[in-house]
């Protein structure tokens, strides 16, 4: 430390906020940073701690006022756990299995279809005709109006509608061509995320009702997959764009088809992006409540519905049981997050957000 002698003497406070060397932090600044971060950790962790101890409290402990520390303030009991996993294990297990099936299948479907579309948009030039699209929407509106207002059978309308659309698109759209570009398709797909579920949920409910698919896994899986498709397309489009094209081009020179290139070269290269996207979509599917509320009544009920179900009956809210359900809901997500954590911390999501 030869340069110390050159520095004029300063007060204690100034020295607290002066970094001892370049790239390090001043002691005072360090103290403030740790204080703030630990304070926020407490704010985050305290509700979770409360959740954990509530799950082992008896009804009397919850209703008699706050008790904080197990074995000191109160005697923990596993009655709520026992009730959910021994007495009512059928209901709990069914909701758990439903949730696992639905979120795994919906995530897989969304990631598969979404990354295929994203890859196509990143590599192939499309020029859809705006006129065809407008025709399609018009025919669809007319068909729906016919079904709704005049009670025409939907199968008949479907056949006639497809026929009319085919005829019109041959007659009109082949003459007038207003081409759109890939950017338009991408924007259209991503902008679907703006739709609040409440806007589309009633027609989706009616649609599944008319084909007798309410309260089935498939109905919820399809709906969740579509709701999360925009996220997948957005994140994966960016990721595919960041992969150099050379590898794919040399594979194509060797005679690989596009599907093969995608499966054997592109997907393995974009493992990080896929992992981050999968985790995000999985969390969203796992925790979704509103759509599940509409689309399931008994057989296909998911865990969030079970959480809400703890607020039923004349006994009021069963806080202890609810805490158990919330805790067992967090466990798989934490497990997945730990497995996929290194992909998230690499800032994969950052790429897409940078735009």
């Amino acid at each position: 430390m030869s340069n110390v002698s050159n520095v004029p003497p300063r007060g204690l406070f100034a020295r607290l906020f002066e970094p001892p060397r370049i790239g390090a932090m001043a002691p005072g600044a360090k103290f403030i940073v740790y204080t703030l971060l630990l304070a926020w950790s407490a704010f985050v962790l305290f509700p979770i701690y409360w959740l954990l101890i509530t799950s082992v409290k008896s009804a009397a402990d919850v209703n008699g006022g706050p008790v904080y520390i197990p074995f000191v303030d109160f005697i923990p009991s596993l009655h709520a756990w026992r009730e959910l996993f021994v007495v009512d294990y059928a209901d709990t297990l069914r909701a758990y299995v439903n949730s696992i099936i639905i979120s795994l299948a919906a995530t897989a479907l969304a990631v598969l279809i979404g990354s295929m579309a994203a890859y196509a948009l990143a590599r192939i030039r499309y020029q859809p005709n705006l006129i065809t699209i407008l025709l399609f929407v018009l025919v669809m509106a007319a068909a729906l109006f016919a079904i709704g207002s005049y009670g025409v059978d939907w199968r008949l309308v479907l056949v006639v509608g497809v026929g009319i659309f085919y005829f019109l698109s041959k007659a009109v759209a082949s003459r007038v061509h207003v081409p759109l570009a890939n950017g338009d398709i991408l924007f259209w797909m991503i902008s679907q995320r703006i739709l609040a579920p409440i806007v589309v949920v009633v027609p989706i409910y009616m649609m599944f009702q008319s084909v007798r698919m309410l309260d089935t896994h498939l109905a919820i899986i399809l709906t969740y997959a579509v709701v999360n498709l925009p996220i997948v397309i957005w994140l994966m489009y960016d990721f595919f764009n960041s992969i150099p094209k050379d590898l794919e081009e040399s594979a194509q020179l060797d005679g690989a088809t596009m599907i093969m290139t995608f499966r054997e070269i592109v997907l393995p290269l974009s493992r990080a992006g896929l992992a981050a996207t999968t985790l995000l979509v999985m969390i969203l599917c796992w925790n979704e409540y509103l759509l599940a509320l509409f689309l399931s009544t008994a057989k296909a009920q998911t865990m969030p519905i079970l959480v809400a179900a703890m607020n039923a009956g004349e006994r009021g809210i069963l806080w202890w049981s609810m805490s158990v359900v919330i805790i067992v809901m967090i466990i798989p997500v934490v497990f997945m997050a730990i497995v996929l954590q290194r992909y998230i911390s690499k800032g994969v999501l950052l790429g897409a957000v940078k735009g």
Binding site: M25, G65, A141, V200, M260, I326, G347
Partner: protein
Amino acid sequence: MTSTTGRVVNSQPGYLPADNSQPPSRRFRFNEWLDGHARQLFITPAVVMILIFSIFPLVASLIIAFSRVRLKAGGYQVRFVGFQNFSKQIFGSEQFHFLGTFTSLTFLGWAVALSATGAILWWMFRYITTGFSVVGFIGRLITALVILGISWMFAATFFSGNPFGTLGVTLFYVFIGCAIQFIIGLALAFLCSQPIRGRNFFRVVFFIPMMITPIGVGYLFRMMADTTKGPFSPAWQWFGLNDFAWAANPWTARLFIIIGDSWQWIPFIFIILLAAFENIPRDYVEAGQVDGASNWQIFREISWPQVMPVAVTVMLIRVIEGFKIVDLPNIMTSGGPGIATESMSLHSLFAWRSLDLGQSAAIAYLLLFVTVVICVSFFNLIVVNRMRRI
């Protein structure tokens, strides 16, 4: 041709096995067909799914919004009623619920309304005099009209001492909530990007709330906020506030929901902004330190310009998601007291529960309209502008 795998050779278009006497196998023909249609095959599933589950319901919802739907044996009866559902919300008997209660404007109300109008007129005037394009003008006109309507709505309700409706509540959640979440998320990400120990610990801990289902967060915060049996009840009693209940007063109830929402969504902003901060080369910051810049100067002059494009996009995502808020108010206060915490999604859900499908769809469409106008304006006027400047 020396290919590594047999499969690659097999499906090469136009290639036939050396022994031409045998017809090509079915698998070979299928692969060739797949390859020929790869263009369509890759994108069709996504387009079809979006058409069926997103565009179709959107059109159907629009038709429902313009009609009165009655349940009858074996189906529905839909009768076209024009703008009746919408006019009921905006001018008619449901006005108090959607927009709020109007009386004559007070002095403050007039001041707010007139200054907002003046600012918007000035903004439009400046656009017309500096540069002008038809599309840009129409877009700005729509934005201006919506913002004008919203500011008059707030002037006549909030600033004149009247309660406001679900539109005002939703905007309150979106703007105040997102602003709080952004400031805290940014601060945490900046602090966590400093050269400190235990960074991974903080990263994992701060991410946890995002993993909890929103409905669980709702009940969790109801437990937390309970002033008689909750963990902080001794503190409430010490302050002599035993009878206080968060959900009984409109403003504390709204604040209560914003706290829950922030607890859950700050992690999202935090995790992406942290990645953005860590992406800044250390050299920049160290060069600043060599030149003797203070911490605040380093943040303002070095870190912030690098992080800002990401921050703007994160805010756009958060605002889009913020407009959908429904679980938390439903669980924490069920929209109460009265309608003080009812968001537009919840309003629509309640209308659906009372089997008024037309009203429900009309409210949902109004929500969609407001969301689209605000998000598109935000994107075109702020995000694009920022990108151009950098």
